[in-house]
């Protein structure tokens, strides 16, 4: 079964959707079969990828049993990456979505879909609502997107507390896989100083060493509804996300190794 990874944040506007899209694209370029799921009723990912051009249906319609997986998830030209939009969004369906989330139907559906992919990357809504709780309850990994700015960093404890609560109460398999610092402006001295401080204060392995630099080319990619790596002028910006995907895979490998050491050595051939 594929791994479900949620891109989450307490605060909105921190580059979560951009990160979900470009991180998924980079994983697919590494040869992984990735499904990117828009689970945010705001539908940012559906807009960012223009999946509505293919279909108006998506996650909501799949959960309602109105559509099959092949009718809502579409492979991109990259072949290894598929996208599922949020689907029909109106006040009633949003309420229904939250209801499915509370009753566990969303988690079960995601786990079923995960059989067909190596990774399901979920663009979660900002905040700590029932949808976020259900998505984290169904995930094996969570990546937090944050800017290196005071408001964004100060909102971290709420999300970290939620992850801790979910680990204890609903999903012990959930692992905080790291925090991605986005829209980093290296010319901003205050931001650089804050980065130095949090690097020293937080656990060393919490933040990904690859910082996502602010680059206007992300806006150009958004206008075209494509990952930045598909823009001719976006290769340098895309490299941040590609290196992030490599670092993510490295962390997974290290985690697997550390888990393997704890296994019963008599249980297998090795």
């Amino acid at each position: 079964m594929g791994k479900i990874v949620t891109i989450a944040s307490q605060k909105g506007g921190v580059g979560k959707t951009t990160t979900a899209l470009n991180f998924s694209y980079s994983l697919s370029r590494l040869g992984e079969r990735v499904l990117l799921v828009d689970a945010d009723p705001q539908g940012g990912m559906s807009i960012a990828t223009n999946i509505r051009k293919k279909t108006e249906k998506g996650l909501v319609d799949y959960l309602a049993g109105k559509s099959q997986l092949k009718e809502v998830a579409f492979y991109t030209k990259e072949k290894k990456m598929a996208i599922m939009g949020i689907g029909t969004v109106d006040p009633a369906s949003v309420q229904q979505l939250e209801d499915w989330a509370r009753k566990g139907a969303l988690s079960r559906a995601l786990q079923h879909i995960a059989k067909h992919f190596d990774y399901i990357v979920i663009d979660a809504p900002a905040g700590l609502g029932s949808l976020s709780v259900a998505l984290l309850g169904a995930s094996q990994g969570v990546l937090i997107a944050s800017q290196c700015k005071a408001l964004s960093l100060k909102s971290l404890p709420k999300m970290l507390a939620l992850i801790s609560w979910i680990q204890e109460n609903t999903n012990p398999e959930l692992s905080l896989e790291g925090i991605i610092l986005t829209m980093h402006n290296r010319d901003n001295e205050t931001e650089s100083e804050m980065f130095r401080e949090i690097s020293q204060g937080f656990p060393a392995d919490l933040f990904f060493s690859e910082l996502i630099a602010y680059d206007p080319v992300f806006e150009q990619a958004s206008l075209r509804s494509i990952p930045v790596g598909m823009l001719k002028t976006g290769k340098v910006a895309a490299r941040n996300y590609f290196q992030l995907a490599i670092e993510y895979k490295e962390r997974e490998m290290l985690l697997d190794q550390s888990k393997g050491e704890e296994d019963d050595v008599d249980s297998g051939l090795f």
């Binding site: 692992s175 204060g201 985690l255």
Partner: protein
């Protein structure tokens, strides 16, 4: 005095994060600023080549933590051993995975790789040699560009290098490609 570290929210976040990451047990090195911005060098590639130290000790790429750093070290070693001016590893869309001393801006290198890579593939099929994978172009009286196409799990990648015209670079390229493939192929 600190900007943010003393705030109650950050102290709370640090405490929570310490609990959450203690189970991870990752031996990831301490975080350091790693924003990559690759700009064109201010001197022509030929001058850079001449200024490269001739006998710098090679660093073993397998000792490096991250795959991206390993890739970069492989091509850095290649450039040092054979006095190449620079080298780039990209995928077939021109996305650069590893870069050492690019001769022009990265956008230009990406575009160049895509154009040459497409030409290499098309030329190979026109000539009935679908395995065509090597292209050299003299760029001035002293240097040439090498483009070597290679496959990993049926996905094409490119190694582009700039080297002196008077050397036989093939064995060096092949050795480096073996190392690159083993790094990119690693699960």
């Amino acid at each position: 005095m600190t900007l943010i570290l003393d705030s109650s929210e950050i102290r709370e976040a640090i405490a929570l994060a310490s609990e959450l990451t203690s189970a991870l047990n990752l031996s990831v090195p301490a975080v350091e600023e790693k924003v990559r911005s690759v700009a064109a060098p201010e001197v022509p590639a030929k001058m850079v080549r001449e200024s490269l130290p001739a006998s710098v000790d090679e660093v073993d790429p397998t000792g490096l933590e991250y795959r991206g750093d390993q890739l970069e070290q492989v091509i850095r070693n290649m450039c040092q051993r054979s006095h190449f001016s620079g080298a780039v590893v990209t995928d077939d869309t021109g996305l650069p995975f590893a870069v050492v001393n690019p001769p022009v801006s990265m956008e230009a290198v990406s575009a160049f790789t895509v154009v040459l890579g497409g030409a290499l593939e098309r030329a190979g099929s026109l000539l009935g040699h679908h395995g065509a994978e090597y292209l050299t172009i003299d760029i001035n009286y002293e240097e040439k560009i090498i483009l070597r196409r290679f496959l990993i799990n049926d996905t094409p990648y490119f190694l582009l290098a700039i080297c002196p015209q008077d050397i036989d670079e093939r064995s060096e390229i092949e050795i480096s490609i073996d190392q690159i493939v083993s790094i990119l192929n690693k699960k």
